[in-house]
Each structure stands twice: as C-alpha cells, then as structure tokens.
C-alpha cells in the first residue's frame, strides 16, 4: 500500500491546527502525529509526484528518490526520538513541532526550488519559535534577523537563476544549468549558498548558533542539532550535488568556506568550558565537513557524516540539556562525576562521543574511513590532513569532558565517587530506553557497517557518487 508523499507533510500540518483547537489533547496529538509519520515513511510511493493535478515539469513536485528517502527517514525518526526523550518539555510547543515537522518533510521531499524556499521559511519560523523557549529573546531575535537576511539572499539568487534557466523544477534546472556557462552561475550560486548556509550552520551565517543552541534544553537542543541540521544538510546536498553543481570558482569558494567552518568549529569547541557550547561548535564543525564533501561531489561519505552526527548529537544534547536542568550549570568542570551513578546515560554519551570522533567499533569509524578514502583516492592529501587534525582536537575535547564526568577527584588522589556533583538521574525511563536504543544502533552499525552502507549507497549513486570506497564486511583479505 503506497501512499502519496504529500501525506507526510499534510498529516503533521493538519494535526498542528487541530492541536491548537483541542489544547487538552495536545500530548496525544503530538504522539500520534510523530509516530504516524515515522511509520508511514516506509510506505511512501517512490518517484516524482506532481501536486495539484498539474503536469510535470510545470507542476510543483515531491520527489522521493533514494537520496530523499534517507533524508525523510532521518527527519521523522529523529523527531520521534527527540519527542520521546523530552516529552514533558513539549507541552507548550506541540503545534510548533508538528508544523516544523511538516516543513522539514517538505524541505527534503520537494522537487521545486521555490517550494523549497517556502518550506525553508516554514521550518525557519518553527525554529525561531522553538528557540524562544530559551528565555533569551534577544538570541531568538538575532536568529530571526540572520534568517531573514539569508532568505532574501536566497530569493535573489533564485530569481537570477530563474531568469537564466526559465524553470523552477529541480531536475529541469539541473539540465538547463549545465548548459549555461560557469561564469554566469557563480553569483547566483553563492547567493543561494548564503541562504541555505543559515540553517546549515555554515560560515558566515552561523552567528545565531551559539546563542540559540547554547541556551537550549533537552528538546530544542536535539531538534536543532539533529533534526533541523540533518534536513538542512540534506537540502544542501540535493541543491549542490544535483541541481546546481558548482563550477571551479564557486566550488573553490564553497569548499574553502566549508573547511574553514570545520576548522573554526573545532578550535572554538576546544576552548569552550560549557558543555552545550562544546557540542554546538562540534555540530558546526561536522556541518562544515559535510558541506565540503557535498561540494566536492562525495555524496556517500557526506550522508554518513550526517547520520553519524545526528545520532550522536541526539544523545549528547539530550544529556547536556538534562544535566543543565538538574544541576543548574553546564560548565563541565562543575559537573564532575555526573555519570557515577548514571551508567546508561554515561555509556550512551561515551559511545556517542567516540562515534563522533570516529573511533573504531562504532559507526563513526566507518564514516571517517570513507571520508578519508574519498579524498585520498583522488590524490588530495591536504583536506584529509585537516580532517585528521580536527579529529585530534575533537577527541581531545570530548575525552576531557568524559574524564571529568566519569572520574571526579582532585589531581594527585585516586578518583573518588564522593567528589561527584550529585546522583540525580539524567533521563526518565522512557528517555533512557530511547537513548540506549540509539546507542545500540551506533554500536551495531559499527560492527556491520555495510548494512548501512548498502542503504545509503543508492542515494549517493543517484547524485554521481560511485558508492562506498571502503566496503568493510565484503573485504576478506583486504581487497576492494
């Protein structure tokens, strides 16, 4: 039974409006909406579906191909997880979350560039409202301002391209833009990049991240860092790997900016003393890495990085948000020993950190290997060196946090459980279950990475990437 992809957008949107009316049933409506979406994702009709009875390519279309399938799974399942972990915090934001979910699905599914803009704005508005939870309205306002500037730039770039190609449909635009010279495309490309860069947390539009994510709680942190981030990066991938492939000039600009984002994010994380700040800068760095990969045409590793980051940040931000709530601080020096009586949360956080650093036995290693292999197969070794240097720094700051949170105690004395900051439980039972499930997935896919690889490869292949450079389980004896 295959359903129309529009339902993935329509259901949460409809439920959002119903939730406004029936305030008392909000919790149920949210649960049903999110669960239904996560379930229906697997039954959607594949291919390009035109909306409104118009004919392609003049109609607005929703495209469910291998690439957007990954995106749609990520968005819906992660929202389900985020809501499950922090259910109590969703109380005032049910319509916003549902509307945002609709927007996110739309962003990933759409096949029309202006439709993308509309959904990006819907998502952005829901993001602005979610960010206002943080009790720092000037941060939300700042976010709104940067977002508006970004959307204006995006529109400018879009209109310029529309003027050149005469179409807004993504696949048609991809064909037509290949015929136009590179020089004409550079400016619009850069403008569109600036527009998407806001949500994707790339320089120079990432000024809002510190304020918003730095004051997030367990729900909003996860939503921003996992859900919104993944969707934005998948959109980035779609636009810059398929629709508007950057030529040399624009490509170099984008890659340099993305790598700069990566490096700046890592060093900024290194100097941060606050747990959430470290995590948000790490997210910025990972976004930069994924963007650079997309811009070079390495879609497969980019998607692996996105998945790895989403899963890991989900665990870490929910832990950080809860710690801040329970102990009133997220300065990790002051949270020494928080994991002492909190094994599940601690282990989950540790596995997530190890995965983000790319240590073996967990999924992140597979992602990292493919990132390095993609570049080194090509013969570039500057970028892998930068990536590895960033990994050393990332490992350093994560291990610093882990050591602090696991082993309290003065220097020169044995680690002492009595020095820990407290014994409050970090997650409620439901949250613990979700977090453990995600952890198990990370570990499992670390041992059987090719099962994930096979899922992701067709999407990558669609956009011109030949697929996994490293096929681990199929390598008996180390041959390719």
């Amino acid at each position: 039974m295959m359903i129309n992809p529009v339902l993935l957008i329509a259901i949460p949107l409809g439920l959002a409006f119903i939730a406004v009316v029936f305030k008392k049933l909000q919790g149920w409506i949210l649960a049903i909406g999110v669960a239904a979406n996560a379930f229906l994702v697997f039954f959607v009709e594949k291919g390009e579906t035109a909306i409104g009875g118009f004919k392609l390519p003049f109609a607005i279309s929703l495209v469910l191909d291998d690439f957007s399938f990954i995106g749609v799974i990520l968005v819906n399942v992660l929202t389900l997880a985020a809501v499950a972990v922090a259910f109590r915090k969703t109380e005032k934001y049910v319509p916003v979350i549902l509307a945002g979910l609709a927007g996110l699905n739309g962003m990933v599914l759409t096949g029309d560039m202006f439709n993308l803009f509309v959904f990006m704005e819907i998502t952005a508005i829901s993001a602005y409202i979610l960010s206002s939870e943080g009790r720092k309205p000037e941060q939300s306002f700042n976010y709104l301002v940067i977002g508006s500037i970004g959307s204006v730039l995006y529109l400018l770039g879009l209109i310029l391209i529309y003027g050149q190609t005469g179409t807004l449909n993504m696949s048609l635009m991809a064909e037509k833009s290949a015929l136009i010279g590179q020089a004409a495309m550079v400016l619009p490309l850069v403008l569109i990049f600036a527009g998407i860069a806001v949500e994707a947390k790339l320089l120079p539009m990432s000024g809002w991240v510190r304020g918003v994510l730095g004051n997030s709680n367990a729900l909003t942190g996860v939503m921003f860092a996992s859900v919104y981030s993944s969707a934005a990066l998948m959109v980035f991938g779609r636009v810059f790997s398929q629709v508007l492939i950057p030529g040399t000039t624009a490509g170099v600009i984008i890659i340099v900016i993305a790598l700069l984002t990566f490096a700046a994010g890592q060093v900024s994380a290194f100097r941060s003393k606050s747990l959430r700040q470290v995590l948000l800068y790490s997210s910025i760095a990972q976004s930069g890495l994924a963007a650079a990969l997309f811009a070079t045409g390495f879609v497969f590793p980019a998607v692996l990085v996105i998945i790895n980051n989403a899963a890991g940040k989900m665990i870490m931000f929910s832990t950080a948000g809860n710690l801040e709530e329970k102990y009133g601080t997220d300065d990790y020096v002051g949270l020494g020993g928080a994991f002492v009586r909190n094994m599940p949360a601690g282990v989950a956080f540790t596995i997530a950190a190890l995965s983000l650093t790319g240590l073996p036995l967990v999924f992140g290693f597979y992602a990292k290997l493919n990132v390095l292999a993609a570049y080194l197969n090509q013969g570039t070794f500057f970028v892998p060196a930068v990536v590895l240097a960033g990994t050393i720094i990332e490992g350093a700051y994560f291990i610093r946090i882990l050591i602090k949170l696991w082993a309290p105690g003065k220097e020169g004395e044995w680690a002492d459980a009595d020095q820990s900051v407290g014994e409050k439980k970090i997650f409620n039972p439901a949250g613990t279950v979700v977090v453990i499930l995600v952890t198990l997935l990370i570990i499992l896919s670390g041992f059987l990475p090719d099962s994930v690889g096979k899922l992701v490869a067709p999407g990558g292949g669609l956009l011109g990437d030949e697929g996994p450079s490293i096929s681990l389980t199929m390598e008996k004896g180390g041959d390719q």
């Binding site: 730039l153 510190r210 800068y281 073996p360 990994t391 050591i403 680690a415 004896g477």
Partner: protein
Amino acid sequence: MNLNLVIIVSVAFAIAAYLVSKVNDKAGAFMTVAGSMFALVTVFLLRNSIGSEISFLYFNFNLTVTGWYFSLVMLTAYSMTAFFNPFWMKKLIYPAGYNFLYLLSMAGTLGVFFAKDFITLFVFWETVVWSSAFIIQMGKSRQAAYVYYVISAIGSMATLFAIMFAYGTTGTFVINEAFKGLAGYPGRAIVIFITFIAAGMAKIGIFPFHVWLPSAHGSAPHTFSPVLSGGLVKMGAFVALLSVTAFPAYEIFKDMASFRGIPLPIYFMMALGAISIVAGTLMAIKQEDAKKLLAYSSVANGGYILIGLLMLDQVGFAGGMMHIVNHAVASAAAFLSIAAVAYRTGTTKMSEMGGMIHRMPVTYLVYLIAIISMAGIPPMGGFVSKWLIFQGLADKGLIFLATTAFFGSIGSFLYVFRPLSAVFLGQTFTRDLEKKEVGFFMMFPMLILTLLSLLTGVFPNIFLRVVVEIQSAFGMLPVTLAENTIVTSNGFLDAFRVFIVFGFGFAIAFVLFVIRRKSRKVELMDTFTSAEFIHTRELLHYSHSFYAPFERLYEKAPDTMKLYHKAAVKINELGNMAESAFFGIRPARTVLLVMGMVLIVIIAGGVL
C-alpha cells in the same frame, strides 16, 4: 581452538567480569585472573596453528610467529598483574568497569598483534587506547589520562593518514602488501613512513612523544602500571617493527642518502630513540616517586628496543626483540614489587619509606633481580639483549648511538639502585615496623616473573630460537645459535657459563658474610646533632637527594611538556579568535563577510 574463539571468549570474560563485579568486586577481579590465564594458555597452544588465517566480521587475522611472540609477552604481563587485582578493588571508583576494561584491552592487544590488514590493526589499537585511557583516569591523575589520550591520538591519526594514503596509492589494506607498491613514489614513501611510525613512537614513548608516559604510568592504578609499562608499550614496538618490515623501508629508501648504510629517515628515528635513552635516564635519576622513576626507565628502555628493531640486521634486531621480553618481565616485576610495598605502606614516595627488606624480603628479592636485569648486568636477561644491541651498534660503526646506549646503561644502574636503597635498604620507619610480607597470591606472579628473568639470562636461547624464526620469516640473516651459545662476529656468549661463574662469586661472598662479624644496626634518628632537635626525618633519610651533585649538572634541562602546553594554549587562543570573529552574536559582522564574499565573487566572475 582458534584465534577467533580466543578473542571472543576474552571479551565474554570481560563482560562476565563486569557482571560478577557488580555482585562482588573481588570475585570479578578473580575473573580477570581466570580470563587472562585462559588467554595466555590458549595463545601459547596456538603455536601449532602458526601460518593460518582466520576472519570474523570484517576483521582478518593472520597467525604469524611475530604476532605469537609479542602476544605472549603481552599476555604474560596481563596475567601476572591480574593476580594483584583482587586486592586493589576497594580503591577503585568503578571496580566493575575496571575489570571489564582490563580484559577488553587485553582482547584488543591480541587483535593488534595478529591483524592481517590495517583496518583490523587500527580498530583493535584504538580499542586498547580508549579502554586503557578510561582505566588510567581511575588512578591518581585525570590529567594523565587526558595527556595519554591526546598524544596517542596524534600518533594514531598520523598512522591512519599513512594507512589511507597507502591505500590510495596501492589499493589494499593487507599489511604485507599495502606498502610494497610505494617503491615508485619516493616522496610519498617518506611521508608515509614518518606518519606511519608515529603511532608506534607515541605508544613506546619515544621523544618527543614521551611526555605522557611518566604521568600515566606513574599515576595509573597500581595494578595497571605493570601492564602499561610491560605490555602496552610493546604494541608500539610492534608498529615500529612493521614500519621496517611490512613497509620494506630499507628497500624503498635504498636510493636515498644514508649514514653508514642506514637510510636517513630510519637513522632519524633511531636518533630519536637515542635521545629518549638519554632523556629517560636523566629524568629517572631525578625522581622522588618510585613509579615515576620506573616509568622514565621505560622511556629509556623503549629507546633501546626501537634502535634494536630498526637496525633490522642479524644481531641488533635479535637484541631488540630479546629486550622486549626482558624489559617486559623486569619492568612488570619492578612495578609489581612497588605495588606490593604500596599495598602495605600506602605510598610510593621514596622519601616516606625505608628498610622494607627486613619486613618484606621476598619482595626485595624480586625487585633486586628485576633491576639487575634492567641495568643489563649478568646473569639476568637484560645483559644478553643489551650485549646484542651493543654488538650491532658497534659493528655498524654508529658512534653517536652507541655512546648514548652505553651512557643509558650506566645511568640505569644509578636510577635503579635508588629505589632499592630508598625503599628496601636503610633504616625502617617506626610505623612500618609491624608490616608483613604480602600474601602468597601476590607473591606468586612476582616469583614467576623473577624466574623468567633468570631464565632469559641463563638460557637465552630458548627465546632466541623463536627470534630466529621471526628473522627468517622476514628474510634477515638470523643470529647464529649453537648449543647454548650465541655466536657473533665479535665473539660468543655462553650464558650458562656466565651464570656458573656468578654462582661461584655469590657463593664465596655468602660464605664470607656468614663467617664475618655482623654490622651494628643504628636507628634513623640516632645521630649526632649537637643537642639540636631534629624535626624533619625525611631530610635525614638515606636516599634523600641521593644524586644531588649529579642532578645539579642538568637542573636547567628543558621540559618537553611545556611545549605541549604551549601548543594547547595556542589552540585555545585560535579558538577564542575564531569564536569572536565568526560566531559573534551581532549579525553585522557576518553580513559584512557575505557582502565581501559576494563582491569578490562578482569581481572574480567578471574577470573570468
């Protein structure tokens, strides 16, 4: 019984140890003993399967003689130390976690030594790194665990770079093939060689990566330091070995500039090893804490091992391989005896102990034999390996390296003697007068290790025969062994005869001791003070400022740790700069950046 089963069962033991420890920590610790003994015995029995290959998921293993040799050394360190575990459980913040990680890291090392391709090697290597980092943090210093991880990461990432780079060039990960194709790319070969060996250097603790060793080995839980020093640094030696055998360094670099037949990149590494010997020795002499002193001695001995292995010749290489066994055994024994003393007295600071020979004579004996071996004095094993290394260096005419090696040997006598006299000899502190020797369960592993030290010294050929197999496997000319002698171009060594001569000397001295008058015991505070009261017993202690005149010679020596601190500070500053420049809250700056970007693009686009 195959390798897969050994590793899987070890991991199963690890999980079982964790669960049992949740109920009763001591029982969990006994499980670590069982698990490590199991691994030791089964791997020993795998001797007959050497040459076979096996796989599990995406890990591929290859049972080589070299791997068997290294893993036996490692497992000896793990299993003997495990006997101490049950007595230290109450000091640990996570006894269950400790037991789990103990066995997990052990399983990891097995994977490293038997890996067939680099992915397997790297996966298990990193597993060992993070599981040992989490154990170190349970000890006396969190900073130590952090520094350990960071320096290890620098090494590992460099090695990962080398592996992936080689993969990009040759298309395979299999250890024996991945580097062969590099002969045609000399520039790349140098880069890959240097980055590949980096992880090994970081793990052994070669200058300039040695800074983590003293703090990590010194502050780790007492029952893990022997494993770190006796076992885990040998993992680094394994990578160093691979870097000259699997990466046929001498072949690839044969057209390069060389010094007395050794290509410059390799000579550079050996020079770093020599610097480690000197640095380690000098720093060890200064130390006040017994464990830190032994840690610095591991740095020095690591230098010896590296030089020996990199020589890749008939004699020096055999010396390096033999030294791996000798140092592992001796170092583990020394750390264990210090741990035994710490168990009874609660401290490892040498100024707070004294005269323990009267209370713990067996421990004293263990320590004495261990340090005789470490200093390279016959009839213990250390002598044989150092003799071989010296031969190799002298034969090749490597004056600088040989000088540092000799210096290190002499200096090592200085520093190993100090804990002996401080902790065991001299007068006993009053509070220790009632302390007893440690129980049998702790004495057992120490005695086994001592016997091994003796064995390697008296019958070295038992081990050298395995080394000969390894040398043949790598295509080297193996060291010549006759009945019980080692024959080199400069002469031969019959270790058993040396032992007999020593036995005679010892017997004569013992007879003299028995028939002569005994010395009179004097209490520590029983000293001439011209009616002043003495308050600071520590200053009167026999070993206080033991080598002060010598230490004054190099008081102002630079500290490598400061270099790392500066680097960390610089990265912090870079982060501050990045944060204020790029991630500031005001939209103005970011938008101006965009405008600038767009302008550049328009101009560039117009020009193009």
